[in-house]
């Protein structure tokens, strides 16, 4: 923030303050994303940021520089703000990585916040991730800003006339046909040489009132059931030796007005069943997405059901966590992975 630069440079003691602050920009340990690896690199043997007086140090109270390392999620924004407010004035912020600029690979994501909305930023370093040289140059540039009082970009681009550029590339031709209603097929059958599988399918067919039982690959079986018989199916599978749920998954199919809920069963205790994964799935209506929870019977399903509620709003009846956010930040928008979820529009300000 410019008032800090003014403070550092102003007053009769200005030159001393300026010199001291310039050579002692200590970043606080606040690693937010993968750019942190590059920060570590910049301060390790090869590049050694300590040369220019920057030392990664303890906590916010004893430092005067925040290097925001890449993506800031909604949850992390709070942490960033707290860290910034705990830091004694004068303090500076450098943002590294494409994520901190415009979102980078998470551009326009529902969970992303721009660091410049949270704290006042002195310098941005583009790149995904920026190289250690770029990071050190950013710190160097901040030193120059403290020294001279004006912020300058360190990158200069040569001016090239438009004609000198390459010819426009020929775009690839579009695919011939795009289906209007792409179907999601969970149980596409596949011919495999798997004898035990055939036996298992027979056994499943006998025990479970399934709509269909298909082999979808070696060691993979898909079982389609009615949504209200999932619990019954689970009991049967447990009797057969499938003792845990590996995964709970929801697929949104808006054009057919349904969700597909999948439970992947497997076994830790029966030797032959260990590599086998049985996918029990059911369609549920999109306007009333309710299904019985399996969390009581298979505790491993609990967290994944909560997560699916976070993302899709499918209510697993019997799971006590329904209706609350589990992994997402409390202020995150509702059900961001539904296909009809509207992203916030990018607003460009001149």
């Amino acid at each position: 923030m410019d008032e800090f630069i003014e403070f550092v440079r102003g007053g009769p003691l200005g030159p001393i303050k300026k010199w001291g602050t310039k050579w002692s920009l200590w970043p606080v340990h606040l690693v937010t994303a993968c750019c942190g690896a590059e920060l570590a690199h910049a301060f390790a043997a090869g590049y050694d940021g300590e040369r220019i007086g920057a030392l990664n140090y303890g906590i916010a109270r004893q430092t005067n520089l925040i290097i925001v390392e890449g993506a800031i999620t909604r949850k992390m924004a709070r942490v960033l703000r707290i860290t910034w407010e705990q830091m004694p004035d004068p303090k500076f912020v450098i943002v590294m990585g494409a994520c901190g600029l415009q979102g980078g690979i998470f551009w326009n994501g529902y969970h992303l916040v721009k660091p410049s909305d949270v704290v006042p930023v002195d310098f941005f370093i583009p790149g995904c991730p920026p190289t250690p040289e770029a990071l050190l140059r950013g710190i160097r540039q901040l030193q120059f800003k403290i020294e001279t009082g004006e912020a300058k970009t360190s990158a200069t681009f040569p001016e090239i006339s438009l004609e000198a550029g390459r010819k426009p590339r020929v775009l690839p031709r579009p695919p011939k046909k795009i289906s209007k209603a792409p179907a999601v097929i969970v149980n596409a059958p596949k011919e495999v040489d798997w004898e035990f599988g055939q036996k298992l399918v027979e056994e499943l067919k006998a025990k479970i009132e399934a709509k269909s039982v298909t082999i979808t690959g070696k060691n993979r079986i898909a079982v389609k059931v009615e949504s209200d018989s999932i619990t019954k199916t689970a009991i049967r599978l447990k009797e057969m030796g499938f003792d845990h749920i590996k995964n709970v998954n929801v697929i949104d199919v808006p054009n057919e007005d349904k969700f597909i809920v999948e439970y992947h069963f497997s076994s830790y205790s029966v030797k032959e069943l260990m590599p086998v994964i049985v996918n029990v799935f059911a369609d549920i209506p999109r306007d009333n997405p309710k299904v019985k929870s399996l969390a009581n019977m298979f505790p491993s399903a609990d967290y994944m059901e909560r997560e699916m509620y976070d993302f899709f709003g499918v209510i697993f009846e019997g799971n006590p966590w329904m209706g609350r956010k589990f992994l997402l930040a409390p202020d995150a928008p509702e059900f961001p992975l539904r296909k009809d979820f509207k992203l916030e529009e990018e607003v460009y300000v001149r």
């Binding site: 550092v8 003691l13 001393i16 303050k17 010199w19 001291g20 602050t21 310039k22 050579w23 002692s24 200590w26 390790a44 043997a45 050694d48 300590e50 040369r51 220019i52 007086g53 030392l55 140090y57 303890g58 906590i59 109270r61 004893q62 005067n64 705990q86 004694p88 004035d89 004068p90």
Partner: protein, 365 residues
């Protein structure tokens, strides 16, 4: 008025450092009125010992040196360069000065939960036990206050330091500070008993708590060879007491973020950060007197009275530089391990040292 000045001048000039090297300048300055009082004051032995060498003036230089040296050495061991660009021709030796200035002009936050008056006072109060021993540490003929019990006095003041640190942690009133001060109190229990027993064994050996007697008895063989067990115990206790790395348990920045000092910022943090270094300085001065022959060394006639303080300073700096290496090559012990070391092997060693010291002391006298 003149009488007072004359009286002061008489007092100062009767007990001045005699340094042949700068004698012509001093003689010249002594002829000018007013300035001669100042010169006499600076060269007055008690003043010289407390304020200049080995006292405060050199202490400040030492702080600048040791912070830089520590960072530089750690960097070299990790294949880095360390602080450099701040002053290239002298290899960045004034890095600590830049950091100090930056701390000085940063905001000093006093958070809401702190016990406010104590929180602000304690970093300054903590300097009393750290700096008072300098009054009693003699260096050659220069000594602030001469007492035959100087070694006991110094140990007493050193034993007071952890209390201020625990109080700092309590005043900060945050959970890391709390854990840090509890750890500091535990470490205090771990090293204090062996440390005091080691010093007592040396006092037995020399037959007196007088630093002059101790140094004189070492004129042939240094104390480190007379009683090597006490020597070892003292070194380990010194590492524990100043929370240097194998025993950097109270401050442990990776786990509890500088323990008792976690909430301090700005100049207050600058003050508490140097506490451990100053404690190290005082303990090393005592170490030099007890084990390394104090201020005795090659006598250079040109330096006259300055020989004592200078040798003392050189020995201290060498010992500290060696201790800093320990910091950058060892990992940290756990609290329970440190306590176990303190109460088993170190206690046993210190009692053995006591026996050796007592026996030698009887034999020598």
């Amino acid at each position: 008025m003149m009488d007072i000045i004359n009286y002061l001048f008489e007092t100062f000039s009767s007990n001045m450092m005699d340094i042949p090297l700068i004698a012509p300048i001093v003689d010249y300055l002594m002829k000018i009125p007013v300035i001669n009082v100042l010169v006499a004051l600076i060269l007055w032995k008690p003043f010289f010992a407390v304020i200049i060498m080995p006292g405060l003036g050199v202490l400040v230089l030492y702080l600048l040196y040791v912070v830089w040296y520590e960072r530089k050495l750690t960097a070299r061991i990790q294949w880095r360069v360390g602080p450099l660009e701040v002053a290239r021709p002298i290899r960045g030796a004034i890095q600590a000065l830049a950091d100090g200035i930056r701390y000085f002009f940063q905001e000093a936050i006093v958070h809401r939960e702190a016990h406010r008056p104590y929180y602000v006072q304690l970093p300054i109060l903590a300097f009393i036990p750290v700096l008072l021993p300098i009054m009693f540490i003699p260096a050659g003929s220069a000594v602030g206050i001469y007492t035959p019990y100087s070694i006991q006095l110094i140990v007493t003041f050193i034993a007071l330091i952890p209390i201020t640190i625990v109080a700092i942690g309590w005043a900060a009133n945050s959970r890391f500070a709390y854990i840090g001060s509890v750890r500091e109190a535990f470490m205090y229990f771990a090293y204090e008993v062996p440390f005091i027993i080691a010093v007592i064994s040396m006092i037995f050996l020399y037959g007196s708590g007088d630093a002059y007697v101790a140094v004189e008895k070492q004129s042939a063989i240094p104390g480190a060879l007379l009683n090597p067990i006490a020597f070892i115990v003292y070194i380990i206790a010194m590492l524990m007491a100043t929370s240097r790395l194998p025993f950097e348990i109270p401050e442990a920045d990776q786990e509890i973020a500088f323990g008792p000092f976690v909430e301090y910022s700005g100049i207050l943090f600058g003050l508490v950060m140097v506490l451990a270094y100053e404690k190290l300085y005082i303990m090393t001065l005592l170490f030099t007197i007890l084990f390394l022959g104090g201020w005795s060394g090659l006598y250079c006639p040109l330096l006259g009275d300055l020989n004592g303080p200078l040798w003392m300073f050189i020995k201290t700096i060498v010992v500290i530089s060696i201790l800093v290496i320990v910091r950058s090559i060892y990992a940290r012990y756990r609290l329970d391990q440190a306590l176990r070391i303190g109460w088993t092997s170190m206690l046993a060693l210190s009692i053995a040292a006591l026996v050796v010291g007592g026996a030698l002391g009887v034999w020598l006298s």
